[in-house]
């Protein structure tokens, strides 16, 4: 094959991911101690950030950056779609549900057919939409907590503790999903261990494309895409077919 690499992510996508990663980490470091305020590690983190007031300001600034990056992301996405360059590859389709079922059957050993994925597999779409929904909840409730008196001027007062409850729990869930799910898929998954660098370099090896996103690779290389249920592709941890 002529290409050892395929460009998977554009520069702006990589920058977006990097910003989200840094801001998300800071939000966790400044937010979780507020939820678990009675623990020793929380007190340590808060004093590391210079006390509760500066911890909150860091949290708010990061929250605003996250809100802006979400807006920029959707503006970009809509612009790209309107200019008809590409379709919105993140939209869940019927195939994603079929893939998920096939994938689970594969894990359970009920079949040796492995789903053939396009640009994004169902797990990536799930995480993406989880992040989008989470961002919307966190930004909305975050602003309510940032401006409680202004909120109560046109909404019932009880919205504020409800927002706090949602912000606190949604934040914890985001932290758990990212540390468990994202860290597994991007780092600990035996297929990419120890580190999937494609989101930072933008490049992915053709071999991994063939393994993880064969349908997109076929489209890129002008081959027939098929129905995606071929099932002859390599399964997890098996010998890879070197392309």
């Amino acid at each position: 094959m002529s290409n050892a690499y395929v460009v998977r992510f554009s520069l702006s996508q990589r920058v977006e991911h990097f910003v989200t990663m840094v801001v998300f980490t800071l939000l966790c470091l400044t937010g979780l101690p507020q939820k678990f305020f009675d623990t020793g590690w929380a007190a340590g983190l808060v004093s590391f950030f210079g006390g509760i007031d500066s911890t909150r300001w860091i949290h708010r600034v990061c929250g605003i950056v996250l809100a802006l990056s979400t807006v920029v992301h959707f503006a970009n996405g809509i612009h790209t779609m309107l200019s008809k360059k590409v379709g919105f590859t993140m939209v869940p389709t019927r195939k994603d549900f079929e893939d998920a079922i096939l994938q689970l059957r594969y894990y359970l050993g009920m079949t040796d057919k492995h789903p053939q994925y396009d640009r994004y597999d169902y797990k990536q779409k799930f995480e993406y939409w989880g992040l989008v929904a989470g961002n919307i909840i966190m930004v909305a409730t975050g602003f309510i907590l940032f401006f409680p008196t202004e909120t109560a001027a046109f909404l019932p007062g009880q919205v504020i503790p409800a927002a706090k409850m949602a912000h606190s729990n949604e934040g914890l869930m985001a932290f758990l999903v990212i540390t468990i799910w994202h860290i597994f898929n991007a780092h600990l998954n035996p297929d990419v261990f120890p580190f999937d660098g494609s989101m930072f370099t933008g490049k992915i090896s053709r071999e991994r494309m063939q393994h993880e996103h064969p349908l997109e690779l076929a489209r890129i290389e002008g081959r027939p895409v098929g129905d995606g249920h071929g099932g002859t592709g390599p399964g997890h941890g098996s010998e890879r077919d070197v392309g």
């Binding site: 594969y106 008196t149 001027a153 909404l155 007062g157 503790p161 409850m165 949602a166 799910w181």
Partner: protein, 348 residues
């Protein structure tokens, strides 16, 4: 200057060899002069310093059987009446003798060095309370008997605060029960913190909590013991936990603590129309820190209630949702990871 100095001199002349006062009859010897109710000294300030000691009062005091005169008045010898009076004011006399207490009461004396009275005295305030100002001198009795005597003692200087306290829920009940706090229960006795910088206020969740989390005590009045936990679970309590020990300096704002909403000396029952936390007064109370707080703003605070279907349905539903959703989501993802790894192992 000496008024009844003639009999005194006669006594001195009768016993010219006295170097000290014999311990066996010291009291009698001192009272030989100091039992005259009219005996006094005019000080340069124009004040009159009474020299009379009531034998009966001293005998009934805590020290009546334990101490001799010279154990506190250690500089006094039999001929002290002839010397110059080294004091300009009555306050000078008090200040000269209060340090005598530390010989026996060293622990409490040391505590006063951390107290606000010592701090303002060090800055030159002569009125700052010394041991004898609160405890008395020849008439010292056990403190806190009755407990209301403590508040009365403080009120001699802090009358404005005492008046307000006397009308509060605690002050009104203090006459009839020892369940309620008197001044020293919150302010402490010897190492009294300066209440002006907010450091004492930041300790109120702990100070108020000492009584208000006591099941037995609160049970007598039908009061909830969940007030501290519910406070801590809220935004103010969480913030205050991180601000423990901070002072209100350099424009720093500290989170609202018990006293910011309930009042300090003027605390009333929550259903008292004068209470700052009475529903109809709450908006004004919130506005102290949240200018522009609307009529519905106080509902942001759940009044020490746990969110429930009745008290705060919206908050309760959000809580319930996440109680189900977080384990479902995290459990589901973890299960899928486990299955994934299992298949990897099977494939090998």
């Amino acid at each position: 200057m000496m008024r009844s100095s003639v009999p005194l001199l006669l006594v001195l002349l009768a016993a010219p060899a006295w170097a000290g006062i014999p311990a066996d009859d010291e009291e009698g010897d001192c009272l030989g002069c100091h039992s005259d109710p009219d005996q006094s000294v005019d000080l340069p300030s124009g004040e009159r310093l009474p020299l009379y000691v009531d034998r009966e009062v001293f005998a009934k005091s805590v020290h009546g059987e334990a101490l001799r005169c010279t154990e506190c008045h250690s500089d006094k010898t039999g001929d002290h009446a002839t010397g110059e009076v080294p004091f300009k004011t009555r306050r000078d006399v008090t200040r000269a003798y209060y340090e005598q207490c530390k010989g026996c009461h060293f622990a409490n004396y040391t505590k006063t060095l951390d107290g606000v009275h010592f701090a303002v005295m060090a800055k030159g305030n002569e009125k700052a309370a010394l041991c004898v100002d609160c405890h008395g001198a020849h008439d010292i009795s056990r403190p806190g008997q009755p407990r209301t005597r403590i508040s009365r003692m403080c009120s001699r200087c802090h009358s404005a605060e005492a008046d307000v306290y006397g009308k509060s829920v605690h002050g009104r009940a203090a006459e009839n029960t020892s369940d309620v706090p008197v001044c020293t229960d919150c302010h402490r006795a010897h190492d009294i913190a300066d209440p002006r910088d907010g450091a004492l206020a930041m300790r109120t969740p702990e100070i108020c909590g000492r009584c208000h989390t006591d099941e037995k005590l609160m049970g007598r009045y039908g009061l909830s013991t969940n007030v501290v936990d519910s406070y801590l679970a809220d935004f103010h309590g969480m913030s205050a936990s991180f601000q423990k020990g901070l002072r209100r300096e350099g424009g720093r704002r500290l989170a609202a603590v018990c006293t910011d909403c309930h009042g300090v000396h003027d605390i009333q029952k929550a259903d008292d129309p004068n209470s700052s936390v009475m529903a109809s007064n709450l908006q004004r109370t919130c506005q102290k820190c949240h200018p522009g707080a609307s009529e519905t703003f106080p509902k942001a605070w759940l009044s020490h209630y746990e969110p429930s279907a009745e008290k705060a349905p919206l908050v309760w539903m959000v809580k319930l949702f996440y109680m189900v959703f977080i384990p479902f989501m995290v459990g589901g993802l973890t299960l899928q990871i486990a299955l994934h790894l299992w298949r990897v192992v099977v494939n090998r």
